[in-house]
């Protein structure tokens, strides 16, 4: 029995939710092109805030810091996360429950606890030993620690999706450890590793709280810059930086999805 009234209202509800989800982002992008310095009303289309943005040294410095942080931390976490995910898969018959806990801890823990514990840890170390001064270095360390689990899970899921016979075949052909890594595991994991890198990259660009608490005076990133700028009110310039960030993250996320798609396509074609 199909109740059309029910399904119609469900559909209308869905459209309302989609509007709810995209309205804030749309407003940010829209008002970044607003000529007037207000969010109350859209006057004229203008690119002047973007011009102002790209001639501001503080903003460009923050942009550079964000990129250095994201690329370095993603590179480190991709290597470690891939190894961890591979280890979880090959040794999945063992009792590794503690490892699952460890991997989910960074994912579930509230940002603030994460940021505060790393901040107090790094400051204490710095006061005692004079190393790990808060700055880009400590931020990279913190970012790597929350990126590793995501990369590991991505790689693990790729391996679980494979036919276990492939591993047997490798064994039957007397491949040694290095050959197996070089000709089988790395090629087959390539989409997952690339997707993992980009996922780690977006996680890093998106993070504010953990960066904020582990940063030093000279390591302002774009989200931290926005945070301090909005204390003076929402300006079109803030909206313009936000739009650049939204664009960057969406582009990278789409690339990641494309790699995921390649992965699922190859899985289905084999089945």
């Amino acid at each position: 029995m199909k109740n059309t009234g029910f399904y119609l209202s469900l559909r209308i509800f869905w459209y309302l939710v989609v509007i709810f989800l995209y309205l804030p982002l749309f407003v940010v992008v829209l008002f970044s092109f607003n000529e007037a310095n207000t969010a109350a009303r859209f006057t004229h289309f203008s690119l002047k805030w973007y011009g102002q943005l790209f001639s501001d040294d503080t903003v460009l410095g923050a942009f550079k810091n964000s990129l250095i942080l994201a690329i370095t931390s993603s590179a480190i976490s991709t290597v470690m996360g891939t190894m961890l995910g591979y280890g979880m898969y090959t040794h999945r018959r063992r009792r590794l429950g503690w490892l699952v806990w460890l991997i989910y801890l960074p994912i579930v823990m509230p940002d603030i606890v994460y940021g505060i514990s790393e901040m107090s840890f790094f400051t204490s170390i710095y006061n005692m030993l004079g190393i790990l001064r808060p700055g880009l270095g400590t931020m990279i360390i913190a970012h790597v620690s929350f990126q590793i689990p995501f990369v590991a899970l991505l790689v693990y899921s790729r391996l679980v999706g494979l036919d276990a016979k492939l591993f047997d075949a490798c064994h039957d052909l007397y491949a040694n450890g290095i050959q197996r890594a070089r000709f089988f595991i790395l090629p087959i994991l390539q989409p997952a590793i690339i997707a993992g890198f980009f996922l780690a990259f977006t996680l890093s660009i998106d993070d504010f709280v953990i960066s904020f608490f582990t940063s030093g005076p000279e390591s302002t990133t774009l989200p931290i810059y926005i945070w301090s700028a909005i204390k003076k009110g929402i300006t079109p310039e803030v909206n313009a930086i936000a739009t650049v960030l939204i664009g960057a993250v969406l582009a990278v996320a789409m690339i990641t999805m494309a790699f995921q798609y390649v992965r699922s396509a190859s899985t289905t074609s084999r089945a």
Binding site: L10, P24, R95, L99, L105, V113, E118, S120, I230, I234
Partner: protein, 312 residues
Amino acid sequence: MSDTGTAWQAIDSRPRQRRISWDTWHLLGVITPGVLWIVLFLVLPSILLMGIAFMTNGTYGLPQMPLSLDAFKQLAGYGFLGWSPGNLYTVIRSVWQTVLSTSLVILIAYPVAFYITTRPAHLRPLLLLLVVVPSWTNQVIRAVGWMNILAPGTPVSNLAAQLGLITPEMGLFPSKFAVVIGLVYNFLPFMVLPLYATFERLDYSQVEAARDLRAGPVRAFFHAVLPQTLPGLMAGTVLVSIPAFGMYVIPKLLGGGKSLMLGNLVARQFSSASNWPLGAAGALIMIVVTLIGLQILRRMSRRLGGDIEVVL
């Protein structure tokens, strides 16, 4: 994306096998760098933080010996000037705002997840993606979006003023209302994904059986549908409520000082208020809640057949 889930099951429930030494070395070799990094830079700092909670606050805001329960007493409201409810209010407000926003998230996410399952199979991943994409952008930016929408003088605020909900010069932001909107907005995808995972494998024959037994739609829902989606609901509740409970950015930006939550209280003790033990005590509460949530998540994920990772 979804097949990751077996991680929980496979790792947890396989019987112990005879250990081969080379195998063990291999395991240690591949997992040590990642595990060591997380232990050294996340687990160890959180343990130290929990230790700080039991120390005394020094003159310069840095923790000192002797060990005491001062921080917890302060959290409960006991200070130099006798009892004052400020801190306790913050804790209660955090719990209340978490409960309120989690309930709203459930009410919105449940129909959404169901709607997606009614669409053709090839469209579903796309619709899920549509729900998830906004959460890929920065938290601060999403809050800025809502500040743009709810500020005084904007169409939404004007409408609310005309309806008599607020006075015209107020605007809907900053307010408790804005905080709840922000929390719901932030965490909606984390509920939709696990719920969708349960809806996708819903056994409709149970619903048909209920209808055959002349159960009305409401009874059929409560007896045949809701119990089946409970694991997804529980998993979603954990994934929404724990981060919401510790939320820092949204209350600070959208609440305007009057709706601060536990996360803000903790942060303040490590900056302007300079009382590390008190901040650590607040963080300790959140860590305990997190660990309880992790345990629930692990149970639910087993019952779900492991689709939790969809959230990633």
